[in-house]
Symmetry: C2
């Protein structure tokens, strides 16, 4: 593995670059980004070795796609067209079903690995990249049987060397689950931010009165709209289902309050406290 | 100020005790708690100097109430009854209007200070206490004009010595604002936890697939139901108003998705990103 191309040199791509430098010290890490400023920044920060263009992918051993999922959908067929016989393309997107559908239609399907590292922060751009982003995180690989085994095996070893544990899943199943444990929490956070901003015209009130609780609950509302709007679009049906259930739960909680049934309010909260155990790691 | 009584020796009371030991080194810190285990723990952890009973308050110079707001509502008249002429009672509750209403009806109203430190964690009990809990936080004092000035002044100096900045507010206004910036985020977090737990019967999925984003958004769902159910009860009308607006915003977001208007989805998120600036401190 000599020539690695990372398309999208932001938080995810930059952090991948830092890890690949350590795991594959002999490889040359090429960066590709339509944002020329980001690309220069990635070079200056020492994330990548060289700038490159999409056309250079005809010399690639490995291509990593760390761009918004709408861009992945558009670009993937062209990348596969350009890819030489020894190459592998791996995407990092938060949706898998639509991307796999596009890949499935391509003659070089076996040279694509559908992948989703459960890692990120609310920040974006090359400056947000750091080497430990993937450490002790889960990496989900979808529809593994459609990728040529020798290629996928090598890539999986790289992910393990980055400190990740690997789970395997069907692409359609992935999108259903991830709507609950990731996409919904982004919307709940954005809408919380909206509700408070709309109400508190005096922003000093928000700053002064918001404790660390509010801050952590609203943290995801800092996330990049260019990253997240396409995720919601591609996972529309699943996300709408989670929203329906979330809104239903909120309405139920409100109804309990309206009927002064605070014993049930307390019991609801008690059973949800179980999330403590889940997040600690299931025993 | 010689005899200080802290009723409720958990996260808030224990952290107050640690601060008072530093700020008033000559004072004796008495702990009162209906949970005998907590009280012994608070003594063993060195949070308080001595165990005490409610009746001992007839010797108090200062009484701090750090118990659930329903307990404060019940106990406050009795504390004021027992309080000697030099004493002051200060509460730490997350609601202020109902508590002030009870205080207003008492002949010793001038010996009560209505107070809410915007500080806390999702943990509870004496073990959760730490000295820096209040550092650089906001402390809201309500209806200051109803407290005897010499007593309130001394208490405010203590809060400042603990590293807090003080804001003054009307009790009814406090409850309106705090419903948005604190109470709502607790409900949004609990309901997010519920939605995910209900769906993901296989808890391993939650643990593996939930990134740090989910973890921070759901953090408040670990909070104590015994603390929070009474807060929602006392601030019922305001909290229901925030819930209505939150649910309306979620429905609007869902409608945008249903009509495939992802340009508006993106624009919504962009304007909510403004929360970044607010949380950094308004420039």
């Amino acid at each position: 593995m000599k020539n690695i191309y990372i398309i999208g040199t932001g938080l995810i791509g930059g952090s991948l670059a830092l890890n690949l430098k350590a795991v594959k010290p002999k490889a040359v890490i090429h960066g590709i980004d339509h944002n020329e400023g980001h690309l220069t920044e990635a070079l200056n920060l020492g994330l990548i070795h060289k700038k490159a263009e999409v056309e250079d992918i005809e010399r690639a051993d490995l291509v990593l796609l760390s761009i918004p999922v709408d861009a992945t959908l558009n670009l993937l067929p062209r990348i596969l067209d350009l890819l030489p016989p020894q190459g592998l393309v791996v995407d990092m997107g938060s949706t898998k079903a639509s991307i796999c559908q596009v890949a499935d239609a391509h003659p070089k399907r076996a040279q694509f690995l559908a992948n989703h590292p459960i890692a990120g922060t609310e920040f974006s751009g090359p400056k947000a990249a750091f080497v430990d982003l993937f450490k002790n995180k889960t990496n989900i690989i979808c529809d593994l049987d459609k990728t040529e085994p020798k290629r996928s095996k090598e890539m999986i070893e790289i992910f393990k060397a980055m400190g990740m544990s690997i789970r395997y899943m069907d692409a359609v199943e992935h999108d259903k689950h991830i709507a609950y444990v990731s996409h919904l929490s982004h919307i709940s956070s954005f809408m919380l931010g909206k509700t408070v901003i709309d109400k508190e015209k005096n922003e000093l009130n928000i700053f002064d009165m918001a404790g660390s609780g509010f801050e952590s609950t609203v943290r995801l509302a800092k996330s990049s709209p260019d990253m997240w709007a396409p995720i919601f679009e591609q996972n529309k049906d699943n996300v709408i289902e989670t929203l329906n259930e979330y809104i239903q739960n909120l309405n139920h909680f409100k109804a309990l309050m309206e009927s002064d049934d605070f014993e049930s309010v307390r019991n609801e909260m008690r059973s949800i406290n179980h999330i403590k155990t889940i997040l600690k790691g299931i025993s």
